[in-house]
């Protein structure tokens, strides 16, 4: 453990809610990738008070397990990981979904450019080149809608702002330590990063369909999701704009 201490420390945060079928696979893969590329990487599993055996399974794995005493939702769970990483002084924090959507061979694709300081925030995108699992038509429509909204508010192009596959550096970590959006954090946090003058870059990755578990966005509340995120983006923009002027 001591011989890699000069290398930047990476925290791989896995928010897990009822992921007993996939969590083992995801953690093992991450550790495997870290070993082959010799990353100095710790896996942090944030168990969002799952009702299944996620916690027991994760406890047996070689990872840091944070058990939330009550369910906070994806945003709160990821932020817990960020807070822990900030407290422990990690140089980078990566978010990986617990459902096996992010294939192991893609992990190094977002870590390497981040380590090379290409941007403060690296986002793994499915849509830069069309390959891999492309999601359903309706979902792509939604993602496109957000792409345009973000373009209007930030003037930057983010082709896959709902992607939970991202890595941020210590500068961004300090920001998300104090505030991170709650319910559907991915599109909102893009605005947040931009308003805080962080550079955002996307890398093409391929994603699988989820191994197990459910998407946090189910069909019947899609409309709620769209409206909520739109409002959230708008107000994040206004709030942070004011903050900037002060």
């Amino acid at each position: 453990m001591t011989d890699t201490s000069h290398k930047p420390l990476i925290a791989a945060i896995i928010p897990a809610y009822n992921e007993e079928h996939s969590i083992g696979y995801v953690v093992m893969n991450l550790l495997e990738v870290a070993k082959t590329h010799q990353f100095n990487l710790d896996v942090i599993v944030v168990n969002d008070s799952s009702t299944d055996n996620t916690s027991q399974i994760a406890a047996k794995l070689d990872c840091i397990l944070i058990n939330l005493p009550s369910n906070l939702g994806i945003g709160g769970a990821v932020q817990t990981g960020f807070k822990y990483a900030f407290l422990k002084g990690y140089d980078f924090a990566m978010q990986v979904d617990g459902d096996g959507q992010h294939p192991p061979k893609e992990i190094s694709k977002i870590i390497l450019p981040a380590l090379a300081n290409e941007a403060d925030v690296m986002i793994g995108s499915r849509f830069l080149e069309k390959s891999g699992f492309q999601s359903t038509f309706l979902r792509r429509l939604g993602i496109n809608y957000f792409k345009h909204i973000i373009k209007v508010f930030c003037g930057i192009r983010v082709s896959d702002c709902t992607s939970g596959f991202r890595i941020i550096n210590s500068k961004a970590l300090e920001i998300v330590n104090s505030y991170y959006p709650d319910e559907y954090p991915e599109p909102e946090s893009v605005i947040q990063f931009h308003q805080n003058n962080l550079t955002i870059k996307e890398v093409q990755v391929e994603m699988n369909e989820r191994e197990g578990g459910k998407s946090s966005i189910r069909a019947f509340n899609t409309l709620y999701y769209m409206i909520k995120v739109t409002i959230a983006i708008l107000f994040t923009y206004i709030r942070l704009k004011k903050h900037k002027i002060k």
């Binding site: 058990n67 939330l68 009550s70 709160g76 932020q79 817990t80 822990y84 407290l87």
Partner: protein, 139 residues
Amino acid sequence: MNVVPFRIQIITIFITLLFLIYIGRLIVKGKLREEYSFFWIVLAIILGVFSIWRDGLDIIAKSLGVYMAPNLVFTAAIFAIFVYLIHLSIVVSKLHNKNKDLTQEIAIMKTLLEDLHKKELTDKSENNQQLTKEHGTER
């Protein structure tokens, strides 16, 4: 002035008093925080004033140009309810955020504590191993 409204006047004064006593009891017992009781005390006082001052409602309605006094009551009441609901939403949002922060803090502390505990155990066993001069290569 006929006699019939006199009866309702007594009833309303009585109910208002009961209401005030109930609010007071809740505060004393610590079931209602003072800052949230403010709204209810003011409401009870307004009710009390209008049950004692019988012509008050008509006079105020007329001076505001409202032809039917009950309409003024409904408008004012609905407005007050909306404002109070917004206030409650703010309170809930605040609680939600505080609750989230606490949950996160507790979870992180628990993890750190377990780490410390594990470290202590391994340190102890390492010490024991050193005592018997048999320390292995694992850390």
